[in-house]
Amino acid sequence: MTHSLPATQGPPLAVSGIEKRFDGFQALKGVSFTIEDRGVYAFIGPNGAGKTTLFNCIAGRIRPSAGEVRVAGRDITRLPSHRRVHAGLARSFQITNLFASLSVHENVRLAVQAHSPRRVVNMWRGRDTLTDVGARTDTLLARLMLTDKQAIPAGLLSHGEQRRLEIAMALAGDPRVLLLDEPTSGMGIDDIDIMTGLIAEFGKSMAVVLIEHNVRLVMKISRSITVLHRGAILRSGLPEAIAADPQVRAAYLGAAA
């Protein structure tokens, strides 16, 4: 069920002049960037740099104090979160956020079902009779290697599996832009390798914006790396250039000290 988005010109994601103040504390100080094409675009930066806050502003969870967000040329700055999903913007959360008491299958099925809203309010059908929703659900479960686990409650999955379920749900509507907030946090080494492969895969068909502390992973799969530091962009460029940049090293060391 690839839902058809209106044909538009603009780049997948364009963010300009985003500022966010939390009573007195300026968490974002005018962040601007444009993503022109598919691929994996990484955002790194020390703890508290404002990475998650930036995602929240883009996804609509919080309102920026100033600035503008465009998806495929469309201004979505004032759209509520749930409508941004239908504009082609999907996200996963840094802190696992699932329907813990519902089955893995139902978690994904609900995410897929959200993309056929007219049939959701049809009160005369069984919930499992939407065959295309079922087919898409099965595809996503298989792609994220969760088919074997589909019957158990999401809350009982292992940490790594929960992170994958997060992403299966985000992919449900075949988004143009996928925001992933530390998808490998707390994962074991095997799970990290699987996840790295998957993210690289997604980058072939959509723009993936990736917040990640694992620099080795980021170096391997990103088209570009942007360094956020104290609410502003410090540097942005090719992975090799960023890795060699003395100011970036100083920011990280400064934060570690």
Binding site: H82, R91, N97, F99, L110, Q113, A114, R125
Partner: protein, 321 residues
């Protein structure tokens, strides 16, 4: 029970069976009628509390509005019974749009407080408009029209038995429709919102809209129940819109259990029969009801329906070789 939960037909059959047996066990059709009417009122509350986790103290608004609607139409305009009940359902549904829209501006405790405040406002509104509602005295001597279609009388509802059959039919259909609703994709979405509203928003659901629609469905069935209650008593007391009425509906819902719709039937029967039996022997009978509710809250989270569930499971266990 598990089978009944998944099948709307199964629930309809169960409700019809209860309706068949109930008059045999109770002293009057009037009492059995009251059980079925309040089962429908609790059904609306069950949708909100069981599927969405929303506790509404505003259910008396819908119940009372339905009752006033039928009362006024029947008394002043001689409206037929079907038109009167349809109007009661529609008016309550419309009120539920407003109440739902206002109450769902907030969540959690604040939502509960909003329904409570709106319920109080509605009570005083009805109290202060005696020209419409009869105020403190209520609406008296409401005629109960016979069932007619296109000027032809189909069925006299004058006898308690005939009216009971009429109510039982409507009640069965109401439970069937509600079961269809919660088994649909819409019902699945309500469960998602109950589990994690934040996540439901993040995957693209306009959760407030879903909550308001749920309020409308709950308001409609509760208003229909109120309309039937006016015809059952031939009287619309101000007590219909009292806070105590909202409490009564909530108590039935929680006592019966919210995991299954059938619980609303059990809760209604328990409260109606208990208040009938006890009010004669002891003026403070509500204390016993309170104690029962405490026991359910502490030891039987699934309500009376879960007791039935366990009994069925045990019987199946015993039947197996």
């Amino acid at each position: 029970m598990a089978r009944f939960k998944s099948s709307a037909w199964g629930l309809a059959v169960a409700i019809a069976l209860v309706a068949l047996v109930l008059p045999l066990m109770l002293p009057s059709y009037a009492l059995a009628t009251e059980c079925l009417i309040f089962a429908m009122a609790a059904l609306g509350c069950n949708l909100l509390l069981g599927r969405l986790g929303l506790l509404s103290f505003g259910q008396a608004i819908f119940f009372g509005a339905g009752a006033y609607c039928v009362g006024i139409l029947s008394l002043r305009f001689g409206t037929g019974i079907v038109a009167g009940l349809l109007a009661a359902t529609a008016v309550s549904a419309l009120l539920a749009v407003a109440i739902g829209w206002l109450a769902t501006q907030r969540t959690g405790v604040y939502l509960i407080m909003l329904t409570l405040a709106l319920s109080q406002m509605f009570f005083f509104l009805c109290y202060a408009a005696p020209d419409v509602t009869g105020g403190d005295n209520g609406l008296m001597n409401i005629p109960r029209p016979n069932l007619a279609f296109g000027g032809h009388e189909l069925l006299s509802l004058a006898s308690p038995f005939a009216f009971y059959v009429f109510v039982a039919t409507i009640c069965t259909v109401a439970f069937y429709l509600m079961a269809r609703l919660i088994a649909s994709p819409f019902g699945a979405t309500l469960e998602a919102i109950r589990d994690n509203e934040d996540r439901a928003v993040a995957i693209g659901y306009d959760t407030r809209l879903y909550k308001v629609i749920a309020f409308v469905a709950a308001g409609a069935v509760t208003g229909l129940a109120g309309g039937l209650y006016a015809l059952a008593l031939k009287f619309v007391p101000l007590a219909n819109v009292d806070l105590a009425m909202s409490e009564r509906i909530i108590v039935m819902t929680i006592l019966g259990g919210t995991n299954a719709l059938f619980g609303s039937m059990l809760g209604s029967i328990a409260v109606v029969v208990l208040s009938y039996v006890l009010s004669d022997i002891w003026a403070r009978w509500q204390i016993i009801l309170g104690a029962l509710l405490v026991a359910v809250a502490l030891y039987l989270r699934g309500g009376l329906a879960s007791l039935l569930d366990k009994a069925v499971a045990r019987a199946n266990e015993g039947a197996r070789p």
